[in-house]
């Protein structure tokens, strides 16, 4: 083949000088070395744990946890198992992550747009905010917010806003609707309204496609849902004689408020801290996304007579979104993982509860494994969702 190079018969080179064989051998040796290393570490761990009579097991998960948890999405009391306590932690983390992601996205988008504003005050306030928040460690910020909650008066001397909102150093107590006996019948209306909303959305989408014009169907769907639900509420009240839900006003008892809903100081401090911190990064992503859309697009939109708002909403933002989604995903993951700092401000998140379980049972290895698997699955799930969304909005090139 290559006439200039002398042919070397494979038999004339000993195998230890044949680069192809060496390449394979080195890889095999490396793989064995990695596996041996892992095996040695594992054996070392098992030997150490066995000496202390601490062999890892998952049996403890069915034992009653017997420690109290300050707040929980699902009913929990100390007689439930460690496994249930772990799930409580998982849900508490999910709650913070979900609320945090939604609020941080809204605040971040506002921040990003402000930074690009031609208004001197707006853009500079936004810049100062970004520079201060970005350069102070998150843990410090969380502790700051938590200490701020201590400045509020004691429960007995709460700051009352009307009869509905009470601010105190244990959190915020709000008047909250509670379902009554007729709630079940209204629930049917809600389900019906949801079906109607889906129908409206589908019909509008088909219409847009037929006319080959862009349009947003969601506002119509939401409007439809609200109308049906509202009509249902009134009709249920008239027919059954009781409203499906009543607003319960909190009442101060001897120690705490009874009735209504209380957002604890820990939860509030954690959400505020995470949102304010993550919004900075989201704001920068939004800014970079908008700036990455070519200037000609904006000029063309303006030339067509679109207003500034329409330009942003219909031309710039949809294109910026394509650039923003991948870095946004990692900020969502960061927020979820950063929520483990809750341990410093007494919010019982996953990491916090896992630590307590570890401490009370001594089963460090299984607990850490469960913790790692939980955070990993949560992150992978978020990535999966965001990747799906990313694919959906990508430009389809033909």
């Amino acid at each position: 083949m290559a006439s200039g190079i002398p042919r070397i018969s494979s038999s004339s080179i000993p195998f230890y000088r044949d680069t192809r064989i060496i390449a394979v051998l080195v890889q095999i040796v490396f793989a064995i070395a990695v596996m041996a290393g892992c095996w040695v570490l594992y054996q070392n761990m098992i030997a150490g744990l066995a000496r202390a009579n601490l062999l890892p097991t998952f049996d403890f998960l069915n034992v009653p946890a017997s420690f109290p948890i300050a707040e929980s999405v699902i009913p929990y009391d100390p007689s439930m198992s460690y496994w249930q306590a772990f799930v409580v932690g998982l849900l508490n983390t999910a709650r913070v992550a979900l609320i945090g992601i939604v609020l941080a996205t809204i605040l971040g988008i506002i921040l990003g747009i402000f930074r690009l504003s031609s208004n001197w005050l707006l853009s500079n306030v936004a810049m100062a905010y970004v520079e201060i928040i970005r350069n102070v460690p998150l843990l410090l910020q969380l502790i700051f917010w938590f200490y701020l909650t201590k400045m509020f008066p004691r429960v007995q001397e709460s700051i009352a806003i009307g009869d509905a909102i009470f601010l105190h150093n244990r959190g915020v107590t709000l008047a909250w609707p509670e379902p009554t006996a007729s709630f079940a019948s209204w629930l049917w209306w809600l389900v019906g309204a949801l079906l109607v909303a889906v129908a409206i959305y589908t019909v509008r989408q088909i219409q847009f496609r037929r006319r080959d014009r862009p349009g947003v169907a969601i506002p119509y769907a939401i409007l439809g849902w609200m109308v049906i639900a509202g009509v249902g509420y009134v009709l249920t009240t008239v027919i059954t004689g009781t409203a499906p839900a009543v607003l319960v006003f909190p009442e101060l008892q001897r120690f705490n408020f009874i009735g209504g809903a209380t957002v604890t100081a820990s939860f509030a401090a954690l959400v505020v801290g995470l949102v304010i911190y993550t919004a900075v990064y989201i704001g920068e992503i939004v800014r970079s996304g908008i700036l990455a859309v070519s200037k000609g697009q904006r000029e063309a939109a303006r030339a067509l007579g679109l207003t500034q708002g329409q330009t942003l909403r219909l031309v710039i933002f949809p294109q910026a979104l394509r650039i923003m989604i991948p870095p946004m995903t990692s900020q969502y993951l960061n927020l979820t993982k950063n929520s483990s700092l809750a341990v410093a401000i007494a919010y019982p998140d996953l990491f916090y509860i896992a630590n307590t379980i570890n401490n009370q049972t001594g089963q460090a290895v299984p607990v850490i494994v469960m913790l790692m698997v939980s955070y990993l699955s949560a992150s992978l799930f978020t990535s999966l969702l965001m990747n799906w969304y990313n694919r959906r909005i990508q430009l389809v090139e033909r």
Binding site: A33, A36, Q43, A52, N53, N169, S266, T356, N359, T361
Partner: protein, 367 residues
């Protein structure tokens, strides 16, 4: 050219394997080789995993003692110049005195209630003396071995005087501050469950935070061991506004603990602790040690290591008890120095008196 890269790579790989495999491959062989102990700078406490902990400590020249990371005046606190003092700290010093005839040979590791047992399990510390309660679970599942109780305590509850609370039965619906990773956390839930009362916990990983949240009024009650409450009350912004309820919610025997699986080291810590009890029983103090050293009473001569070989049996020097008394004193001296009438706490001895005076301190005979 390519081959010359491969050779060092392969050599490095085999070295890594050898280095990793070396330590755990021979768990029983190589009993002690302090000078060749693997990576002595990286992990000072690590060699004890393979040889005995006591030998490792002797080779290292200091004992690593886990103490409270939050100031708990009277039990463990650090002053401005970084000097540790307190009841628990004195027992750390007693161990160092017995081993090295020098109470300053202690490395203190401040630990939170969440980290403390992990620090023992991983071998980061030699002994944990951090107002920790001896329970069956911790003795078994958590993998510790407990030394004799040095302080018999019980869980109490602190409330504001103006709250009108006179007992735990008044506390239905109250918000209570408690530290996580403690027996207190568990007892609190148990006691309220048993009484059919509800409560809202506010649980912190850190003792300081727990106290300051209570101080700010974020909780109606603050619960921990009574000794801890007596100590904490001095740190509140206005101690006179607070009171400790008379209810005792649990038994809290506090004492030193070591990692399970090293009976020799456990024995050493046990008998160093007993020596402080026994010294008080004999009336030997750091002041009159010289007089007792001249004693002709055989059991006192044995106790002080003047005759016989008592220390050797537990891996200590024969005069370990004398060393402890000389540097740290007997139990009464330790107690009075940190918690007694001349301190702000003025805690009565109560259960922590010798058995001869109606208390629970009782040392097996030194013979």
């Amino acid at each position: 050219m390519r081959r010359s890269l491969m050779v060092p790579l392969a050599a490095a790989l085999s070295l890594i394997i050898a280095a990793c495999g070396g330590a755990p491959a021979a768990p029983t062989a190589a009993p002690e080789a302090p000078t060749t102990a693997p990576a002595p700078t990286a992990a000072p406490a690590a060699p004890a995993a393979t040889t005995g902990r006591l030998e490792a400590i002797t080779a290292r020249g200091t004992v690593i003692c886990g103490v409270n990371n939050n100031p708990l005046p009277g039990f463990a606190s650090v002053d401005a110049s970084g000097v540790y003092s307190g009841f628990d700290v004195d027992f750390c010093k007693a161990v160092a005195a017995a081993l090295f005839d020098d109470p300053s040979k202690v490395e203190y590791r401040p630990l939170s209630s969440q980290d403390r047992f992990t620090a023992l399990q991983t071998g980061e510390i030699d002994v944990l003396i951090r107002n920790s309660t001896w329970t069956l679970g911790r003795d078994g599942d958590v993998g510790l071995d407990w030394s004799p109780t040095t302080f018999y305590d019980g869980q109490g509850m602190m409330v504001r005087k103006d709250s009108g609370i006179t007992s735990i039965n008044d506390m239905d619906g109250a918000t209570i501050c408690v530290q996580t990773g403690t027996t207190t956390e568990l007892n609190l839930a148990d006691v309220f469950r048993a009484k059919g009362l509800t409560f809202q916990p506010v649980v912190f990983p850190d003792g300081d935070q727990t106290r300051s949240a209570y101080d700010a009024g974020q909780c109606d009650g603050f619960t921990t061991d009574k000794s801890g409450l007596v100590s904490s009350i001095t740190l509140l912004s206005n101690p006179a506004d607070h009171q400790i309820l008379s209810d005792t919610m649990s038994k809290e025997p506090l004492g030193p603990s070591v990692l399970q699986g090293d009976p020799k080291w456990a024995d050493a810590v046990n008998w160093i602790t007993f020596a402080t009890f026994q010294a008080e029983e004999y009336g030997i103090t750091s002041a009159n040690l010289a007089e007792f050293s001249a004693s002709e009473v055989p059991e006192i001569r044995r106790f002080l290591g003047i005759e016989g070989e008592l220390g050797k049996g537990v891996g200590l020097s024969n005069d370990f008890a004398a060393r402890v008394i000389k540097h740290v004193g007997n139990y009464a001296e330790i107690y009075n120095r940190n918690l007694g009438p001349d301190t702000p706490f003025n805690l009565p001895r109560g259960l922590n008196a010798l058995y001869t005076e109606g208390g629970l301190l009782y040392s097996p005979p030194f013979r």
